[in-house]
Amino acid sequence: MSSGAAADVAFVAFALVAVAAGYRVFRTDSMVRATFLLLASFLAVGAILVLLAAEYLGTALLFMMTVEMVVMALFMVMFMMNPAGLNPMAMVHQPRLAAGAGVAAGVALAGVAVVADFPDAPVAGSAGAVAALGAELLGPSMLVFESAGITLLATMVCAVVLSASRGRYGPTHDGSVAPPLDPGGDHRPTDDLVEPGGGGHGHHGSHS
């Protein structure tokens, strides 16, 4: 089904989509659109991986990045003081320095891609790619992946526990306040992170 020319055209198309979507991430004012444009960029990269006969890696990249971007969108809308994420707000900090650094890095990487001498060893179909991946995961790289997997699972379980209505310190509708530092003392106040006198500017330093 895929001749050389069709694969080349597909590669160029996906590469253009990846770069254009990545550029649009920084030119859009909507937080959620920025997130999903970044997802579009990742999806294009995943498609390129599939073209490179790494089908499993490409598809795994697709669905990992999807969930990551959805979670990022969730958190951006929750915590970034922008009603539902639909008010336009300036999404960039230090734009000139960042643009300069981005252009420089892009030129350097493009230079590497043009000047370097890549090996020319086309893979005969994707037969055996999955088996080879499995052998690698359960052989030399087992320690890395197993420890990463356990860490990820522990993180997910902790996130679910924190978001449950039981909360970290008790049921939400009972206040869910931290226990006192000294036994018998007052409940520890939770305003060590938020400035007291509510309705103020909250804490807006945590743009990521």
């Binding site: 999903f36 598809t59 809308v77 994420g85």
Partner: protein
């Protein structure tokens, strides 16, 4: 092992379109019939078969209302992406012996990816209208979605173990002697729970729930609404086809041709899902997340463990 014949693009699109179109119409008819039966209303067969068409005609003639400053592009994108993902999921499922739009070697991973990418469609469906009830409904469904996505991964990988391949065609071939529903009894019930979540219906109708006045669909009207509800029916058909292929032996069966068996099994799974949709009370997101992580996920682990032990 039957070599899958890759279809030419034009008949492939036509095949997927026909299957999804006819399937979603039949799903709508079945749902109308089951709802009328549960409600105790006597409706003749003629009335039931024509009901979805009348509803669609009414929605087509309705104005598409808008809210204050929605994100129009993503609002329209949500049902389109959702339906596109259903088509993607169906394209890796063999609909008959050697007939698949694209029976790739990592078919089961693509199937799972299509279902996970649907979470993006859910989020956009809830967020785009710029309405508090829609946003709350979208968020709670995404919370449930992140829980059932894990379930589906384990169950699908366990079904791939006896076939020693991630391609759905190979999985169907491995069921020539014994169907996976008998070999891995935990798999199909868990996958049906995932199906309810992926189509946002029945007990997991958190996205368009009536307790939030229609949830993400509260601000939809006209063609926009028809598109979203059509996309949900289409996803139900695609997921039922995948479940039939992975657990019910696909096109295997005596006497009838392969595609007929595939159609029957898909219809059986879809019919069961429609009945659960109409007769299942909605579970709260909190309760579902708790059950999913404490009960269903360990069951999925067990399923995978058993499949692994047998495969070794």
């Amino acid at each position: 092992m039957t070599a899958a014949r890759q279809l030419h693009p034009v008949p492939a699109v036509a095949l997927v379109g026909a299957v999804l179109g006819i399937g979603s119409y039949l799903v709508a008819v079945t749902r109308a019939g089951v709802t009328a039966r549960v409600a105790g209303q006597r409706l003749g067969l003629a009335a039931i078969t024509v009901a979805p068409l009348r509803r669609a005609r009414r929605l087509l003639g309705q104005q598409v209302t808008t809210t204050e400053r929605p994100d129009s592009a993503t609002w329209v994108l949500a049902p389109a992406a959702y339906a596109g993902l259903a088509a993607l999921a169906l394209s890796v499922v063999p609909l008959g012996p050697g007939t698949a739009v694209a029976d790739v070697d990592t078919g089961i991973v693509v199937f799972g990816a299509a279902e996970v990418l649907a979470v993006v469609a859910f989020y956009l469906h809830g967020w785009s209208p710029n309405s508090p009830l829609a946003l709350a409904a979208g968020y709670r469904h995404v919370a449930a979605a992140l829980s059932y996505a894990l379930l589906s991964m384990f169950v699908l990988i366990a079904a791939a173990l006896p076939a020693q391949s991630l391609g759905i065609g190979a999985i169907v071939d491995s069921q020539a002697g014994l169907w996976n529903v008998l070999r891995q009894p935990l798999g199909l019930p868990l996958l049906l729970v995932v199906a309810l979540g992926v189509t946002a219906s029945g007990p997991l109708d958190l996205l368009d729930g009536t307790d939030l006045a229609g949830g993400g669909g509260a601000e939809d009207s006209g063609v926009q609404r028809l598109a979203w509800e059509g996309a949900r029916a289409v996803m139900l058909v695609a997921f039922a086809a995948g479940a039939a292929a992975v657990f019910l032996g696909g096109w295997h069966g005596p006497l009838l041709p392969g595609w007929a068996w595939m159609a029957l099994k898909t219809a059986a799974v879809a019919g069961l899902l429609v009945v659960v949709q109409v007769q299942g009370a909605r579970v709260s997101a909190e309760r579902f997340v708790a059950v999913s992580w404490t009960v269903l996920l360990p069951l999925a682990f067990l399923d995978l463990l058993a499949a692994g032990v047998v495969a070794l």
